[in-house]
Symmetry: C2
Subunit: 430 residues, 2 copies
């Protein structure tokens, strides 16, 4: 009797969790048409009000964040994670600045992408419309709450957000400020819906709201990606790892190669567009590798036998090293004897994010760009340029490492879908 009672309770809990999540989904879906029809100037006013709101409520936000930090310290999380979780007045100003910047960007909704008149007189227009309900699952950084909300609002989408339990107090406080600011500008508060239940089970239910969610974007590590691939029933855009390579070709300008590798590795090692691996043509490896070792004394390098022979400070790389996104002052090294071998290495170990060639030879550049399978291929430039702002989108909601819908940085325009509007004067099909 007791056992079956417990089972019933567990079943009941799962059911009520699903029902609660579906209720949120219904709310999101209900508000989507209103947002789609909201004029640009009203969306902009709401974004500016939200930016002001974040700054004027900074104290309250910092207080909520203190609660998250205290709980995280108690749970013994690492200093790096604590730093990502922390809000400061400067970071709040940064969030507000982000919202103001989004208000300044052009509204993609309503743009006519293509038009055609068919021989039978039908006029076809492809018009950008909001995706509808955009679900985002993200990890500790609370600024994602306002960044994602801002991009969704500007593109006419409901932001349906599920942050981590670690940041729940901060996220709730930020969401509350945004929702009140929206309402004051005649934008429905439900333009931003934050899931309060941060359990793992709720996350799975969240990924399965196929009746209510048009697109799911994860911002987090491999475990999150894996969980989405396993559990999601809604269409998703994966923002995967960046195991980015720089290949230094036989003809490379070695000063340029050095600058590009140093910049890619050390300018901000913790981000997905940082350089994680170098592939050196054998004809230049003896010169360039020792230069790189001298230029980056704080970077640990691991490499193959040839590279270790050229630079004794290089440690031994195993198979896993070549496949790892270090996100740290660490770099893997491989020496190859042809462009073909370089392309093979990059395609084998790369994560289809961003790959660089340094070369003075146009044929090599062309072949690398054509044959390397990645969202972004770069010739003679740092991998760090793979970024929404640097590429002219103004802001990004992530970097897609899959091929459907968008590859590479995702800007406002990628939060829209294209609707086919077909106008006739009574045409029927013969």
């Amino acid at each position: 009797m007791e056992a079956s009672g417990a089972l019933a309770t567990a079943g009941g809990e799962a059911t009520s969790r699903r029902q609660a999540m579906e209720e949120l989904g219904r709310r999101a879906r209900a508000v989507a048409p209103l947002l789609a029809a909201t004029p640009t100037d009203r969306k902009n006013r709401a974004l500016l009000a939200a930016a002001d709101g974040l700054q004027s409520h900074a104290e309250g936000l910092l207080e909520a964040n203190e609660g998250d930090l205290a709980a995280a310290k108690e749970a013994g999380i690492s200093a790096t994670l604590l730093d990502r979780l922390r809000l400061t007045p400067a970071r709040i100003d940064g969030m507000a600045g982000g919202l103001r910047q989004v208000a300044d960007l052009p509204d993609p909704v309503g743009t006519v992408v293509a038009s055609d008149v068919r021989p039978n007189g039908l006029r076809i227009e492809q018009v950008r419309v909001p995706l509808g309900v955009v679900a985002i699952v993200y990890e500790s950084r609370p600024n994602v709450t306002s960044d994602a909300a801002g991009l969704c609002l500007k593109s006419g989408n409901v932001a349906f957000l599920r942050g981590s339990s670690m940041a729940i107090r901060s996220n709730l406080a930020i969401a509350e400020v945004l929702r009140r600011s929206y309402e004051a500008c005649d934008v429905p508060a439900d333009a931003l819906i934050l899931v309060e239940d941060t359990s793992r089970e709720a996350a799975v239910e969240f990924m399965r709201l196929s009746d209510y969610v048009d697109c799911l974007i994860p911002r987090g590590g491999p475990a999150l990606i894996r969980s989405i691939m396993e559990n999601a029933t809604v269409p998703f855009i994966l923002d995967g790892d960046g195991n980015c390579h720089v290949y230094v070709d036989r003809t490379a300008d070695l000063d340029m190669a050095e600058a590009i590798v140093v910049n890619g590795k050390t300018q901000r090692p913790s981000v997905c567009n940082a350089t994680e691996s170098i592939v050196l043509h054998a004809e230049v490896a003896a010169e360039v590798l020792p230069r790189l070792v001298r230029a980056m004394p704080t970077v640990e390098m691991v490499g193959d036998e040839t590279s270790r022979a050229l630079a004794p400070s290089v440690g031994e790389a195993d198979e896993a090293d070549y496949g790892t996104e270090f996100l740290d002052y660490k770099l893997s090294v491989r020496v190859v004897d042809s462009l073909d071998a370089a392309i093979d290495h990059v395609n084998h170990y790369g994560t289809r994010h961003s790959e660089v060639i340094v070369t003075a030879d146009e044929d090599s550049a062309r072949r690398f760009c054509a044959e390397v399978d990645a969202a972004c291929v770069l010739v003679n430039a740092s991998s760090r340029f793979v970024d929404g702002e640097e590429m002219g989108y103004g802001a990004e909601i992530g970097i897609s490492t899959q091929k459907l819908h968008v590859r590479g940085p995702m800007g406002l325009v990628h939060l829209t879908a294209v609707k086919n509007v077909i106008r006739g004067d009574g045409q029927i099909r013969p």
Copy 2:
């Protein structure tokens, strides 16, 4: 002992099935870069050779098809399904004609979609490239094997196909002809890989080849769609049901409305862009409904109380009728008293495929187009025009009812991804 032995066998079978499927995935992935680099004229030659091959091997194909038909008859399948499964000389000519038509279409690969020069001198080009490996799961019709293979080859993609067990003999025979024709034109035979294991378990493994497949497109009914949503780990484009409505507005030209409804319902009732439901404004229902009843004597209509009062031959519709894609000579009817109620009805029961308004009022047309959430919205034209060929794509691989990547008919261009090619002269990020 016996039980654990049986378990071990079952586990071993599952493992070997997974391994066999992964081996096919590896073959597909291995050939993808070769296909991506194959020049247009070689792809076209292979398509024309495949078309010739289908016609010159017609007898062998018909013989293989006889085997499928005999097995299907023995299994007692319906006459409709038998007809879909049947090959005839005319249908083989149709398949060959389809391949020749695809050879005539422009090659989307290499098209520059957008380009930009950033203030720091970086030149960014967005270039169309093949998706890579396109997996397609489809049901009984064997012509899909050559149609899908042709569109994939022209767009530089590996066609990784899994047809139904019912058509396996026909599909194998068609695939064999295509693969040999490809080889004779220096295109790798593995540009088309057909999965021979047609078990349900193999289908699930197929949907989970996330290391090898770039995009999965299902062509089949709701059970297949549900299985993909539940099991797939690869990104997919859903080709869902079309519960298409025609709304006849207060101001509609009633002759036009009649022609559009009759065409949408009866010109080819078995396809997804057929009209399944009509929504009539109360001010015109009394005139238009009896006309429609007279015009379509073979169509069974079911409707609400008002429509039944206006036309006694209309039966009673229940909730399920409004949500059903009949694919038959059957139509649901609803009378509404405003455009708002019509839009609500369409958004509630529609499947986001194709929705029609017949109206003389530009404001109503604009509101319907903006507020109805569907891949295609049509003003004063038959729903039957939602079709790749009619819309100018030349041929289609399906009709997307989701929002990511493509909405509505999918042509060659939608089998490509956009790669970001970034060229500099040594830029690093400050």
